[in-house]
Symmetry: C2
Subunit: 410 residues, 2 copies
């Protein structure tokens, strides 16, 4: 039989993956043809990780730490996290509140252990693509609430009320936000929890970029006592080790023990040596994170200025992280067409806006996390391409190009 | 509200985890009290990994390979695997046939992309606990077919016919087998595929222990052309790096691309540096594997002899790997009671037989993969405990002990 005729399960049919990895693959193809590509598609920090992190990992490997560790995570890392949160004003947190798992997988684990096929989940947009991919895969009824660029994409009381009205089983939030850089206020987050408690709604607070918040006092939901809450974060972005694939969840010990069963069932455990490296990250983090924060604060501001001076592209100045969510409406190109042509004509890779939710076809996301010169050149190419495209009119794709996804050109 | 009153999803409620990790946690608790424990519960090889594997991993870390790689896996590892299989008589295999993912997760990925909630899956018993945990988690209708100790737990035509009669969506097989050590013949595997092809059944062939087959010519299902087949394996056991958490699937490129979407959705990608280490494993493997195979061939034979001479415990001599599946019926203790007391009284950790399927409450699994002296002492303690228990009669647990799972004492 032809493999194309194979029948997969409903979940198998609903798999869409992550757009960024598809863009990365297209970019790598161009590179293999010998062309240089400016990578503004993935959040790969240009900072080297703290030397202590790498050295501790290397030492663990050299000392033969290549066996299994408990499925909930390396005891030292769980203890170090408990100490870290205790020092940051959460003295009730113990090592039993933590489960170590890749952050991207935690999104799937959270949804799968709280929601059944057909249940409603609320996602605020723009939002991280894995939320959509995971919810779709699991078969959830996704209700999106659009946050407004006029409000700097902040979480408002109105948006929370709209979310609760959907009677969802779970709500996912992401402050500091990818792709907008918005950081939510304590009062809005407290209002969210208050509403969720009243209606028995599970909450996943994705705080992956918390430590890269530089224009606003960051407030973590780990402060509240709510048993239907899982706070998750990652070492990937803060410490420039996305390739370690180590994240963690912080929850009530009862919920954490359920998550532990999920880890044990799905992947047994994570490597010992990467987790040991993350212990070192927590020990040396403070100074390192200050330097990184200062740099990205300047970098995002500088790049946003280049974009906003272009007269054709616009974006907010983010309060955290290293992404710019750019309005390309004036180019009259759809996001997919824009990104495809920008990669082919200017060797610059960005992520289409519609990966971050419905109705975002006139946006693209640029990651300014890479090497400074590369990023600045990429942004220049982005602006120059946008200006050219304005004059050249809409582009008719050839039959062979992969533009099947373009359906919203405006 | 009390966290115990929280409602999880159906999947959340069906999570059971892996028994070995629970045994490991109990053993670690005893160790923290200062007692030495003989670890015969996990398959952690006493061999150090090939030095080239560790050195290549360290070099990759030192060279800053800590960013993202493609979700399907590091291109060098996929290319090295294609070369490896080509050299081993599978010249049609290309890098597009491979997807890199932790082997335990691949079991979940396979079931989730081929089966819907309520579909039937056939598992042969004794079988690896994750098959049961994953199938239960996903909500599958598990039909077990018992392989017979009298046949050395081999896959027979009768067992295959019984399997197909269940009209399953998928069948999982595991040769070389954990926990029995059985290695299936080419003719039985070809008959299996022939039957599955006729009835449109998906097959997962878990070949994790293939390279640790030492008493029999190993025949891999990668030889057959069947688009509903996924062959999976791992670097964990062969190269003594279970803590790397790197496995792979080999499938038709169309099926592999579906699996790639699953990886991208679930966990983005695996680390670059661990995958680079696995490339080195494939380069240096042959000599290393020969030495490892010779050692475990002798070790399993020696331990099986100790057990069979005990007059109370019996086991087959395995054809592969480093597990002994031991009949404890004459002790008149159930597997959980046996393991619990053996750990408490003799500080020796084994895995209860019922983790490997229903009806196996009079078996335990011993892994003889650890340091030789530790293993030999553990087996001695196992035998001596069994002999004592015969005289002492059944044990009445105290109310505080964790014996809720014991329900089949014979």
């Amino acid at each position: 039989m032809k493999p194309e005729a194979l029948e997969f399960s409903k979940r198998g049919q609903r798999l869409i993956g992550q757009e960024m990895f598809k863009v990365l693959e297209r970019a790598k193809k161009i590179e293999r043809l010998g062309q240089h590509v400016y990578h503004l598609e993935l959040g790969n920090s240009c900072f080297p990780p703290p030397v202590e992190v790498i050295q501790t990992t290397i030492d663990a490997l050299a000392n033969g730490h290549v066996g299994y560790v408990p499925s909930a995570g390396h005891p030292n890392l769980r203890a170090a996290l408990a100490e870290h949160y205790t020092e940051h004003g959460r003295p009730w947190v113990t090592e039993n509140c933590f489960v170590i798992s890749p952050a991207n997988l935690l999104i799937n684990q959270f949804l799968d252990m709280t929601c059944n096929d057909g249940d409603t989940v609320v996602l605020f947009t723009p939002g991280f693509p894995t939320y959509f991919a995971a919810a779709k895969y699991i078969g959830l009824n996704v209700k999106t609430i659009a946050l407004e660029s006029e409000n700097g994409y902040h979480l408002t009381k109105l948006a929370i009320d709209q979310a609760v009205t959907q009677k969802p089983k779970a709500i996912l939030i992401n402050s500091a936000n990818n792709p907008t850089g918005a950081v939510y206020t304590q009062s809005s987050l407290e209002y969210l929890i208050q509403q969720c408690e009243q209606h028995g709604i599970w909450v996943l607070s994705d705080e992956t970029y918390a430590e890269l918040c530089y224009r606003w006092p960051y407030w973590s939901l780990s402060a509240v006592d709510y048993s239907r809450l899982i706070v998750m974060s990652s070492f990937s972005k803060s410490y420039a080790i996305p390739g370690y694939r180590v994240g963690y969840a912080l929850a009530h010990p009862f919920v954490a023990s359920k998550l532990n069963l999920s880890c044990s069932t799905l992947f047994s455990c994570l490597p010992s040596f990467t987790q040991e490296g993350c212990v070192a990250a927590l020990q040396v983090g403070e100074t390192y994170l200050e330097e990184v924060g200062d740099y990205f604060s300047n970098m995002t501001e500088q790049c946003a200025e280049m974009i906003n001076q272009s007269q054709i592209l616009t974006c907010s100045v983010p309060e955290s992280a290293f992404y710019l969510f750019i309005d390309i409406q004036k180019t009259k190109l759809s996001d997919h067409e824009f990104c495809q042509r920008l990669l082919q004509e200017q060797q610059t890779a960005l992520t289409p806006g519609s990966s971050f939710g419905p109705g975002l076809e006139s946006y693209v996301r640029a990651s300014v996390s890479g090497e400074k010169e590369e990023v600045l050149e990429g942004i220049k190419r982005l602006v120059s391409f946008a200006l050219q495209s304005k004059d050249s009119g809409p582009w008719l794709p050839s039959a062979s190009s992969q533009l099947s996804k373009v359906g919203h050109a405006v």
